[in-house]
């Protein structure tokens, strides 16, 4: 199995997976804590719209999905805050709008639907250098952001009003968290696919929430579980010659199930 790492795509895929495995579950904590679960469905559909648009315009789909997702989250956040509309309902609205527009583009510009929908599965071994470096840099920024602003983030997650009255710029942090979520989802879709990104994004944070007793331990445990799922899942996929993203998701689900059953006992 070791000789497989001599292949550049596999080595690059493994390195990226280690970085995102440890870093991306931090976003999962944000999603869980701020009740932003509907947001990620909107982002998944937004990524399909971005992919369809990019393919129609013959540009890199990774940049297209990222751009559309950023526009969507900024629109959604602005509307929910200024119009006092429910973020869940707005997410559903943008989700429907995105997928509708995506299929209009696919039909109108005769984009092969198969290529657009390949975003659902991800492509860990087809990273170009920009995507490789970009994902590693973003992972590091995410970890540094969490480490540097841990006190302010803890306040925002605990209670928005309390955070504001403690002197924390809650609105600013809310926007940054939403932007980080958009970038994370777009990057995770490219790497492990829309259908499986929860294995890295949400499952580690969910498991951590079962045994964490503090905010600090929740973040650290989420990161630990994410890193474990990514690295062990990847090695298992090489060992049994299975798709990496699916193997990671199955391994993460198995650990989740075992921990839930053990907890019940």
């Amino acid at each position: 199995m070791v000789e497989l790492f001599s292949y550049t795509p596999i080595l690059k895929g493994f390195i990226v997976l280690i970085f995102l495995g440890f870093a991306f579950p931090i976003t999962g904590v944000y999603l869980l804590r701020m009740n932003l679960l509907p947001l990620r469905f909107m982002l998944m559909h937004g990524a399909i719209l971005g992919g369809a648009l990019s393919l129609a315009m013959e540009v890199n789909p990774f940049g297209g999905t990222m751009a559309i997702n950023l526009i969507l989250v900024l629109l959604m956040t602005w509307m929910s805050r200024s119009l006092k509309a429910d973020p869940g309902q707005l997410s559903a609205f943008f989700m429907v709008l995105s997928i509708s527009l995506a299929f209009i583009f696919i039909y109108r510009f005769q984009v092969p639907a198969k290529d657009t929908l390949s975003l659902m599965w991800g492509s860990l071994y087809t990273l170009n250098n920009y995507e490789f470096v970009g994902t590693i840099v973003f992972s590091m920024i995410l970890v540094l952001f969490q480490a540097y602003y841990r006190h302010q983030l803890r306040a925002v997650f605990f209670d928005a009003d309390i955070a504001r009255t403690s002197g924390v710029n809650e609105t600013g942090f809310y926007y940054i968290i939403i932007l980080i979520t958009a970038i994370t989802v777009a990057a995770a879709m490219k790497l492990i696919g829309a259908l499986l990104l929860d294995a890295i994004l949400l499952l580690p944070a969910l498991i951590a929430s079962y045994h964490a007793k503090s905010y600090k331990s929740m973040v650290l445990w989420s990161s630990f579980w994410g890193g474990l799922f990514a690295s062990i899942g990847f090695l298992l996929s090489l060992l049994f010659e299975l798709p990496a993203s699916s193997t990671i998701a199955v391994f993460a689900s198995a650990v989740f199930l075992i921990l839930i059953l053990t907890k019940k006992k």
Partner: protein, 339 residues
């Protein structure tokens, strides 16, 4: 006397002050906190003393003193507490408004707190609300509301549910923008950039806090109080520990917040406000989720707070049985105004 106040120990000068009014005695109070000299061995020389200074001298524990110019009004205080005094000149009263304001029925603790407030030696700040009008979704909630609270004062606002009590607190916090009027906390207008920088000086205990199930320890909740200001880690830890010890919750610092009783949660929330050095404390229905024991403990804690740190406190509640225990002044919010 070349100084306003001199403190002697075995005829040696150990402390002097050149401040005016009661400030030399408040400076002396700080000196004595850190001094190891037995207080009964100290001899105080003061330039002028009336009833207020006499009360402070008694409160400091000084037993022997010489006063250059002594007011007759100070004598009953010295005699009641057995203070040995001598003087150079006696007058029937001294020109001091503070002396006139001290009532005979006030206890020593009440007098001391009154003098601290008057000297600005309390944590509390002033709150001034003028012609405040607030609308929510086009409906008038508060109209021409006026309120004036001095440093370290307390006020209970009562009123029916939905009468605008929470709206008033949120307006003071800057969470709701008024359509008319102004709110001044200290010298800072709510909404101004100066207020924004010192926003942490207003502490808030809301109704929802007791239902929060976020995995977070008690110490982490208290730490939220200092999350908006830049301080070193050691200072952060010191302030957290101090606030938790003051409110009697240091022993539960590692407990998960959402597993605590309602009373313990409110204790932690008050510690959070102390940790952020809140000079104005706003409490929104703090007994909503408390049992009788929790209510009793909270009342004790608030009374204790009003006597020690003495932040200015504004409490809204419809639980009049409980607020009566506090013996704080009351106002009622009705038809958008305070009565």
């Amino acid at each position: 006397m070349e100084h306003s106040l001199i403190l002697l120990h075995n005829d040696q000068i150990v402390f002097t002050s050149d401040e005016h009014w009661l400030y030399p005695l408040f400076e002396l109070e700080q000196y004595l906190i850190n001094s190891a000299i037995p207080i009964e061995q100290l001899f105080l020389k003061d330039k002028i003393a009336g009833k207020a200074a006499a009360a402070l001298i008694v409160r400091l524990g000084i037993r022997n003193c010489f006063i250059e110019l002594l007011s007759e009004r100070a004598l009953p205080v010295f005699e009641q507490y057995g203070i040995k005094y001598s003087y150079n000149q006696m007058v029937d009263h001294i020109q001091c408004r503070t002396e006139d304001l001290i009532m005979d029925k006030m206890s020593m603790e009440e007098t001391y707190l009154f003098l601290r407030k008057r000297a600005g030696k309390v944590q509390g700040t002033t709150l001034k609300i003028k012609e405040l009008a607030v609308e929510i979704s086009g409906k008038s909630i508060l109209q021409d509301l006026e309120l004036d609270l001095g440093r370290g004062e307390q006020l209970v606002i009562q009123g029916e549910n939905g009468g605008g009590k929470t709206t008033l607190l949120k307006s003071i916090l800057g969470l709701i923008n008024p359509v008319h009027g102004s709110i001044l906390i200290g010298e800072e207008l709510v909404g101004s950039s100066a207020w924004q920088k010192n926003r942490h000086q207003t502490g808030y205990l809301n109704q929802e806090i007791t239902r929060n199930n976020f995995p977070i320890t008690s110490a982490e909740v208290v730490a939220i109080g200092v999350s908006g200001i830049k301080i070193s880690n050691s200072e952060r830890e010191y302030r957290i520990e101090l606030a938790m010890r003051k409110t009697g919750c240091f022993s539960i610092r590692n407990e998960m917040f959402h597993q605590l009783s309602g009373g313990e949660k409110q204790r932690i929330s008050i510690a959070r406000c102390l940790c952020q050095n809140a000079r104005l404390l706003l409490l929104d229905e703090p007994t909503s989720y408390l049992d009788e024991k929790g209510k009793e403990e909270l009342a004790e804690l608030l009374i204790d707070l009003s006597r020690n740190e003495a932040p200015t406190m504004l409490l809204v509640s419809h639980d009049s049985n409980w607020t009566d225990q506090l013996k704080w002044p009351h106002k009622t919010l009705k038809n958008g105004k305070l009565w």
